[in-house]
């Protein structure tokens, strides 16, 4: 049994490396990712498709197809055990119990031939050994908690009888059913319309205050995490390139990628840009072992060192870490201790 050194750290991830062996070769999906999530904290994980944000989360709880996936190394301490080393029986107890999940598309993650009530009570009966009637009672409470009207009558409805937003509420209710210490939400609002997304984000804010669990919120939408997260980490090509408190990341982004990404977004207020800034080029080919900075081919600040060495994530100011050889604020190469 291992113990967490920091008492308020719920999950402590160190150097997770995940690869996929495909017909084309080895895909380097996650290349050494480390992070902590504290009690009651909402950690935003932002990146474009293929940056490894989902694979990182799925590696922690081994929800990857293995093979072709392979967790090459690393550790993830949760509740006194290393999830990476844990066997499948131990993981079964944790998944859906102390760690809850919300996935992107509520239609494909709910079983269409089982009632919502069955799917809600399944986890309760499995993890908490609740009786059938107690589980049903709790299920009604959960549906009320996530704002589904006439919860009692809807328990015996099937997923197709719910709208997209309501289905996502059901998913949230299932994730919360066993009072998780940690909730992993993977693009939970991406498939929803903006007005429905606003409802779900509002709900999450209320639930957070009420239940106080830690949340990891994975998304490609920089706007969503801006008003939700306490801290945000930005991923690119399987690396964390920047991590900071939410205000700092948005006001003074220190990685050229984050900086450029925020400037490619059109503004909803104020002066309208004449022309959008764009990041030229494409994300890198992950079949190659990354040896230099993965962003350097697209980076306007790239210099000789960037093509030679891969920068590591380091603190550059209070609550702000960045993996870049260039000091964006002072417009010169970073001085490395």
């Amino acid at each position: 049994m291992l113990s967490n050194p920091d008492s308020d750290v719920v999950l402590s991830v160190t150097d997770v490396v995940t690869q996929f062996d495909t017909a084309d070769g080895r895909v380097h999906a996650v290349n050494g990712v480390s992070f902590d999530v504290r009690e009651g904290e909402l950690l935003g994980v932002v990146g474009e498709s293929g940056c490894g944000k989902t694979v990182t989360m799925m590696s922690l709880v081994k929800l990857l197809p293995m093979p072709p996936g392979k967790i090459v190394g690393g550790s993830a301490l949760f509740d006194g055990q290393d999830l990476i080393q844990a066997d499948s029986d131990a993981l079964k107890k944790i998944r859906g119990g102390k760690i809850g999940f919300i996935f992107q598309d509520p239609m494909t993650s709910l079983n269409p031939v089982l009632t919502v009530g069955y799917q809600l009570t399944e986890a309760l009966r499995l993890h908490k050994n609740s009786s059938k009637s107690a589980a049903r009672k709790r299920a009604v409470e959960l549906l009320e908690l996530v704002g589904i009207p006439m919860a009692k009558d809807r328990l015996d409805d099937y997923p197709h009888q719910f709208s997209g937003g309501m289905r996502q509420r059901v998913m949230i209710a299932i994730a919360l059913s066993c009072d998780p210490k940690l909730l992993i939400a993977d693009e939970p609002t991406t498939a929803l319309d903006v007005t429905i997304q606003a409802q779900i984000l509002d709900l999450i804010q209320i639930l957070r205050k009420e239940l106080g669990m830690a949340i990891i919120w994975v998304t490609h939408d920089l706007g969503v995490v801006a008003n939700l997260a306490d801290r945000v980490m930005v991923m690119y090509s399987g690396f964390i390139v920047e991590r900071a408190d939410v205000e700092k990341l948005y006001s003074t982004p220190k990685h050229p990628y984050t900086h450029a990404l925020l400037r490619t977004l059109p503004q909803m207020e104020g002066e309208r840009a004449q022309r959008l800034e764009s990041i030229e080029g494409q994300p890198p080919d992950q079949l190659l072992q990354p040896e230099s900075c993965p962003f350097s081919p697209r980076c306007v600040y790239s210099f000789e060192r960037c093509t030679r060495e891969n920068p590591f994530l380091e603190f550059v100011s209070e609550g702000h870490e960045v993996a870049c050889w260039w000091d964006l604020e002072n417009d010169r190469p970073r001085e490395v201790s």
Binding site: E48, S49, S163, G164, G165, M166, D193, V194, T195, I196, Q197, A198, Q199, L201, D202, H220, D221, L222, G223, V224, A226, N227, V246, E247, Y250, S251, A260, L261, L262, T264, L265, P266, Q267, M268, E269, R272, A273, R275, L276, E277, S278, I279, E280, Q282, P283
Partner: protein, 339 residues
């Protein structure tokens, strides 16, 4: 909603030139059939009385949530479906009354760029033959002229002209969308419907494609109907914006006015639901959170389509459909409670 010509929303009061495209009370209803005999059991009113004008070289943004009928409207304009009712005039020609052969002769002038470049490109055709297909159908270009034109088009969208023999899977998402754009440009169209052209692309690639579309518009004098659910991008790319809800246009106006002084309660809620990428500003902003979901277009509410979710709805909203009102130059709102 029948309107006399001079009251058609979208008539640009300042511009005296003739509209390129004019929609009058366009409706697209799809029948719902049921039972063994496929008897008609109802009607999905996907587009239910839309009027607007589109000026040459204009970029009109059409926004709305999924299921509001924006894509159906785009397809109806191009007559991929015959409209159930109403008139669609393209350069003063009423498309709804044209014979198929006459419509086909006009098609090169009107093109479409689709949302998903993966689905809209045939995986078994080379990029060269994909782009040349409209040329073979509608032009007399042959041999060297034809291949020159394909290379010219690839070059125009920022792809290497030597890529003609490659297949779609060899390209990234953003590059595939460029192929779709090249195909749409082949026959020198005047009007292009961009149906969510960036929705399937990553953020860092979206800006590249939007900049390309803007450059092409300027260079070739194109007119766009830009359909999107991305309100930020519409603000950037469109000078005028139409907001659609349940098959109807609820507000239409100049982009700067609509984004700063929107009047329809739905537009207000829609704009406030977009998360800003600015944590400090976001915390101070007043957000309107709508309750409930969009009603089914098979069974729309009586009167105003938005009244079931509207925070300020009154009894009269259930009784009659509000007619579009002109508030200022080119700004139209369909709401009983706006004066």
């Amino acid at each position: 909603m029948q309107l006399a010509n001079e009251k058609t929303p979208g008539m640009s009061d300042a511009n005296s030139s003739k509209p390129l495209l004019r929609l009058k009370n366009v409706k697209q209803h799809f029948p719902i059939t049921a039972g063994l005999l496929r008897r008609q059991a109802g009607m999905i009113k996907a587009v239910d009385g839309v009027d607007f004008d589109l000026m040459p070289q204009e970029n009109l943004g059409l926004v709305g949530e999924s299921g509001c009928g924006k894509t159906t409207l785009g397809r109806t304009i191009l007559h991929l479906y015959r409209p159930t009712e109403g008139q669609i005039l393209f350069k003063d020609v009423n498309l709804t009354q044209l014979k198929p052969s006459a419509l086909r002769a006009l098609r090169p002038k009107m093109q479409m760029i689709f949302q998903d470049p993966q689905d809209s490109l045939n995986p078994r055709m080379t990029v060269g033959s994909i782009i040349a297909e409209p040329l073979d159908e509608h032009s007399t270009l042959k041999g060297k002229d034809r291949s020159n034109r394909v290379e010219e088009l690839l070059d125009a969208v920022g792809l290497n002209p030597r890529y003609t023999n490659r297949y779609p899977h060899e390209f990234s998402g953003g590059q595939r969308q460029r192929i779709g754009i090249a195909r749409a440009l082949g026959l020198n169209p005047e009007f292009i419907i961009c149906d969510e052209p960036i929705a399937a692309l990553d953020v860092s690639i979206q800006a590249q494609v939007v900049n390309l579309l803007e450059d092409l518009q300027e260079k070739l004098g194109l007119t766009y109907l830009f359909i999107s659910h991305d309100l930020g991008m519409i603000r950037h790319i469109s000078k005028r914006v139409a907001v659609m809800y349940l098959g109807k246009i609820v507000e239409l106006g100049p982009a700067h006015e609509l984004y700063s002084r929107s009047r329809h309660p739905y537009t207000k809620a829609l704009l406030s639901a977009v998360p800003l990428h600015n944590p400090g500003r976001e915390a101070k902003r007043e957000r309107i959170i709508l309750t409930g979901d969009v009603p089914s277009p098979a069974n729309p509410p009586s009167g105003c389509p938005f009244r079931t979710r509207c925070p300020i709805a009154e009894t009269r909203c259930a009784n009659s459909m509000p007619q579009p009102k002109k508030l200022s130059l080119g700004h139209w709102v369909a709401c009983h409670l706006v004066d």
